[in-house]
């Protein structure tokens, strides 16, 4: 079997599984989960085969739209170092989450529907990874949006879940609209949708730096939506309404990282525009800091992790905006995928043990009742906090060191965010796992079944090791250079200090695991009131505008334009019907008149 076939099978296996579940096996639980997991395992084998064999090049599929040379959209797969590494991330994590879901979703309604949704998601995500042109990526981009919508709204009977799903979809649409405009702009400018063609077009834009910057920023809008960057970050915390495996796979490890992957994909052309890079880097830095602040005051175990995800995505986006190497954001994406996925899965384990209680102030002392969960959580938490010898340390420090080298302003912003990370994670760890149980559920918490524990342990390994130099070299040496810039000694001290200060502050405040949060900052707790502000905009401005439109539509457009023209047209039709007398002599007469008219025209026109 050649690599091209392997790539196609890898992409299509999950689609096949989803189709079989939805059309054939339907509500059969065993078949649904079996098919989905089987397809994820096929993708795992396929993804690693492609990686280990250094699959390289474009695997042609078919010409989807072909209107000649000027406008054709092929459907083809692009294999290069970047997509291979991303492929490994997606295909390695997915089967673990799929298997974990067997345990987590065991008691839930719509078990089969859930697995079909996961399979559709995996197909769409692999499509994003393997797409060789912007249009194809956009299609799969929307498909992950749809699968995210389906999975967030899994408990669609619950209004909050249905609302969250709707919000996620709509907010993403805003970003995607910009993305689409960006694609069109690039097409107008370069005449191609292919990544290779777009990335090689820096020459073309030499004389038009503004056009390039605008195009890149429009594409970046897609990232802002999908990777939940400020100001479109609001959907991600709400998406936690979905089942926890979904939060873990889609809204932490892979789907939200697709925005960063997109930036890495267009990195050569993006880095040719300093203005665009500046915008990208600042957006990332502001998001990293803002979300970090909000994470410190959340009460929901998943909510904290959600804001932390936004914050880490901010780091990756900053890394892309520094315009050094595509490998820089991808390295953090790589390590983050493992430890954040792990953190969410441990949170899921806690939630299940707590009988679906998610408020951390109802937990406490879970360390002894859920030892494996606690230990694996610790691996993830230390990796996220940037502790020495844990993966997050290497990738995050690299971004900060590069920021020092290239952009001091951004450096100080992300360093503050880096101090917040250990703070809110320590807070979460202390409140959830230490101290005394704060509720009935916490008293009777129990460790999760083996089917959930094993994926946790398997994920803990990369969460610890994914940042080590050999691993980094193995996965990233062909993606781009990752040499650490020379930084003054005190900068390294700053990194260490950020980590230590964060942890110490949390220890001081939350030592002894108090029953209630000793600090309450309403602005942080209420998400800076951004959600309320958006709601106000939607209600007052959009609602008012809609009322105005409705008025115009009802009285002017419907009343005059539509009814008026409809009446005119109907009258014409009614009049024409009188020609249709049904009498054959009359038809023959019309026929003859037609002949005379046609001949008259033919013979008199000159």
């Amino acid at each position: 079997m050649n690599l091209s076939t392997v790539a196609w099978i890898t992409l299509l296996a999950p689609l096949g599984a989803a189709a079989l579940i939805l059309l054939v096996t339907r509500t059969n639980r065993a078949a649904a989960s079996g098919l989905a997991i089987l397809s994820a395992l096929i993708a795992l084998v396929g993804g690693w085969t492609l990686f280990l064999n250094h699959a390289e090049g474009i695997y042609q599929g078919f010409n989807w739209i072909d209107f000649g040379k000027d406008f054709s959209i092929p459907f083809a797969l692009a294999l290069d170092p970047l997509s291979r590494t991303m492929l490994v991330v997606v295909t390695t994590i997915s089967p673990l989450v799929f298997i974990y879901s067997l345990g987590y979703m065991k008691e839930e309604e719509g078990f089969w529907r859930f697995f079909a949704g996961l399979a559709i998601f995996l197909f769409s995500m692999l499509g994003i990874v393997l797409a060789n042109n912007l249009v194809m990526m956009f299609i799969f981009w929307e498909l992950v949006g749809v699968s995210s919508y389906i999975l967030i709204g899994h408990y669609y009977g619950k209004p909050s879940a249905a609302d969250a799903a709707k919000q996620a979809f709509l907010v993403n649409r805003i970003g995607d609209f910009g993305f689409m405009l960006g694609i069109l702009l690039f097409w107008v400018a370069t005449g191609t949708f292919d990544f290779s063609g777009v990335n090689d077009s820096a020459e073309l834009f030499k004389a038009h730096p503004t056009l390039l910057a605008v195009s890149c920023v429009l594409i970046f809008c897609g990232t802002v939506g999908k990777s939940a960057q400020f100001p479109l970050h609001v959907w991600l915390p709400n998406s936690m309404e979905g089942p926890t495996p979904v939060s873990s796979l889609l809204h932490a490890a892979t789907m939200v990282a697709a925005g960063v992957y997109l930036l890495a994909r267009i990195f050569p052309i993006l880095s040719a525009s300093p203005d665009a890079c500046e915008i990208v880097a600042w957006t990332g830095a502001i998001t990293a800091l803002g979300a970090g602040i909000l994470a410190t005051q959340q009460d929901d175990i998943k909510g904290i992790l959600a804001y932390s995800t936004i914050s880490q995505l901010g780091y990756m986006v900053t890394g892309a905006g520094l315009a050094i190497s595509a490998a820089l954001p991808m390295f953090h994406l790589f390590t983050h995928a493992f430890f954040k996925c792990l953190l969410f899965l441990t949170a899921g384990s806690v939630i299940l043990g707590m009988h679906h209680e998610q408020n951390i102030w109802e937990m406490g002392g879970l360390r002894k009742k859920m030892p494996v969960t606690f230990l694996t959580y610790l691996c993830g938490m230390l990796a996220l906090s940037g502790c020495f010898f844990f993966s997050g340390h290497y990738s995050k420090d690299l971004i900060m060191a590069c920021a020092w080298e290239h952009h001091r302003g951004i450096f100080w912003v992300v360093v503050i965010a880096a101090a917040l990370t250990p703070f809110y994670m320590t807070r979460q760890a202390l409140v959830v796992f230490f101290g005394k149980p704060r509720s009935e559920h916490a008293e009777h918490a129990h460790e999760s079944p083996l089917v959930m524990i094993v994926p946790l342990i398997l994920l803990a390994i990369p969460a610890v090791c994914a940042g080590y130099a050999p691993v980094e070299h193995y996965f990233f040496h062909s993606v781009g250079s990752l040499t650490e810039p020379e930084v003054p000694h005190f900068v390294e001290l700053v990194f260490g200090a950020a980590f230590v200060i964060g942890i110490l502050a949390a220890f001081v405040i939350y030592r002894g695991a108090p029953a209630k949060d000793p600090i309450r900052i309403p602005a942080f707790h209420n998400r800076f009131y951004i959600d309320d502000f958006y709601f106000w905009i939607v209600r007052v401005i959009q609602g008012g505008f809609a009322k105005l439109c409705s008025f115009i539509d009802r009285w002017f457009i419907d009343g005059i334009l539509v009814r008026g023209s409809a009446t005119v047209v109907w009258t014409i039709g009614f009049a024409l019907r009188f020609l249709q007398v049904g009498n054959i002599q009359a038809y023959a007469l019309f026929f003859a008149a037609g002949v005379v008219g046609l001949l008259y025209l033919l013979l008199t026109i000159h």
Partner: protein, 480 residues
């Protein structure tokens, strides 16, 4: 493979079936339709073996050619005939009512066999390059269609329909023969391939008689493709003829007419002496046909008549592409339009056939509440109507897109603007059916049974509408 073999195979199939028919028991008449459909499917497969025209110099070479256009439309006509034959057995109950019952099952078999001869005639017509051949094959197809249109002998509507068709058809036949003789008289040839050089050699004084001949031929072809003002037979004949025949008439017969029109105009399009006049006339015909077909459809309440007007309207869009024949994309656009048109028109007629069988009438009100009574039928009709109206991701949308694009590139801005208005009108009358199906109360709640063959057709045609609409490249590639 010599392209003549395809037509010969079809004729032989028809003759064999006629012989089988005389010996088959009355209960087995449906089998004839199945055999016919399978046989034609075999011919359809044969058409994918590389075809070549008769060897140059051989007698047939002067009459028949084999090019991308003919191969494409031969397949289209075969496909339409197969669809027709598959709908025939489920039409037998309606036939039985309207045929004199001297002998049980009498007359049923021929209804399944005659279409095969029409098919052969139309296949010859799309491959023909000589007016003698065109005329003979046209008559073979048309005369057989007269019989099929009047097939419900005890039904006055069907008789009326057939008579009108016959008389007006005869009129148009007269015009085409007269036109061919003028053409021959001035140029000395009836061969389309020889026509351009023959015209180039003509003195200027001969242009007027030549145009007169061309005009006569255009009249007859306009009748065939139902262009205004020669379309008056369409609603009446469509309404009265048996539903499968109407469906076939609106697709296969019209397609063959368009191919002849393309061949004739293709030969004349670039000749300075006549091109100017012809361009103007075709553009005008397109505009008038668009206006009439779409606006007159609006007040219709009968589904078959509505589809008749719709067929006129689609002829208008196709004429837009014909008026842009200078563009290389015009012929692929027409071909694609017809491929989609086949799927969506025949799908709506299949649904109509089932619904009128179950409810006893063709009015749009018979579709009331179909969404509740039979979601499958309503869904199929919804798809067909959406495609006829031209909603994205259906074949109809891509077809219109291609036609408009071709017309725009050739500078027919007026036609495109008019086309946009008529498309909007089209939404109105196609959506009347959708409104009836989903927003009206059904007269009765019982579900409607769909025969297996028709269910198969609904699935295949519906899939084709979506497939062509999402992935149009293969069809377009077939004509480039």
């Amino acid at each position: 493979m010599n392209t003549l073999y395809l037509e010969i195979a079809v004729v032989v199939l028809g003759i064999i079936l006629l012989m089988v028919e005389s010996y088959s028991a009355s209960a087995n008449k449906a089998r004839l339709a199945w055999i016919g459909a399978i046989g034609l499917f075999g011919v359809l497969l044969l058409s994918f073996i590389p075809q070549h025209a008769p060897a140059p110099g051989s007698p047939a070479a002067a009459f028949i050619t084999s090019d991308l256009l003919s191969v494409f439309f031969v397949r289209l006509i075969l496909a339409a005939t197969i669809v027709f034959l598959l709908t025939v057995p489920s039409f037998f109950p309606a036939l039985r009512i309207s045929l004199p019952a001297e002998r049980e099952g009498g007359g049923l078999g021929e209804f399944a066999i005659l279409p095969i001869f029409v098919c052969a005639g139309l296949m010859w017509m799309v491959s023909a390059v000589d007016f003698i051949m065109i005329f003979v094959s046209l008559e073979l197809a048309t005369i057989t269609l007269y019989i099929l249109a009047t097939y419900l002998r005890q039904n006055t509507a069907s008789l009326e329909s057939g008579t009108k068709f016959l008389i007006l058809g005869a009129l148009s036949t007269g015009f085409i023969v007269y036109g061919i003789s003028w053409l021959f008289g001035t140029t000395g040839t009836t061969n389309l391939l020889a026509l351009p050089s023959a015209i180039a050699a003509l003195p200027e004084a001969a242009v007027t008689p030549l145009l007169f001949g061309i005009g006569m031929i255009l009249v007859a072809l306009s009748f065939k493709i139902s262009a205004f003002p020669f379309q008056f037979w369409v609603p009446d004949v469509y309404q009265g003829a048996p539903t499968p025949v109407t469906s076939y008439l609106s697709v296969a017969s019209k397609a063959a007419g368009f191919v002849v029109l393309i061949r004739l105009l293709g030969a004349l399009w670039a000749i300075p002496a006549v091109s100017h006049q012809i361009h103007a006339v075709i553009t005008l015909l397109a505009a008038l046909t668009l206006i009439f077909g779409n606006f007159a459809a609006i007040p219709q309440t009968n589904m078959k008549r509505l589809l008749g007007y719709s067929s006129v309207a689609h002829a208008g869009y196709l004429l837009m592409a014909v008026a842009s024949l200078s563009s290389k994309m015009a012929v692929p656009a027409i071909g694609f339009y017809f491929a989609g048109y086949l799927a969506m028109t025949m799908l709506s007629f299949v649904v109509l056939q089932v619904v009128s069988e179950a409810t006893g009438g063709d009015e749009i009100s018979r579709f009331n509440g179909l969404g509740r009574r039979s979601p499958l039928l309503a869904g199929a009709m919804l798809l067909a109507a959406a495609s006829l109206a031209g909603i994205p991701f259906t074949a109809g949308f891509i077809g219109k897109l291609l036609v408009f694009e071709v017309a725009l590139k050739q500078g027919h801005y007026g036609l495109v603007a008019l086309g946009c208005v008529t498309v909007a009108a089209g939404f109105y009358y196609y959506f009347k059916v959708i409104r009836a199906m989903y927003w009206q109360q059904p007269a009765e709640e019982t579900s409607i049974a769909v025969p297996g063959a028709l269910r198969f057709l609904i699935a295949v045609l519906g899939a084709a509408i979506i497939a062509f609409g999402v992935y149009p490249a293969p069809i377009l590639a077939a004509l480039r």
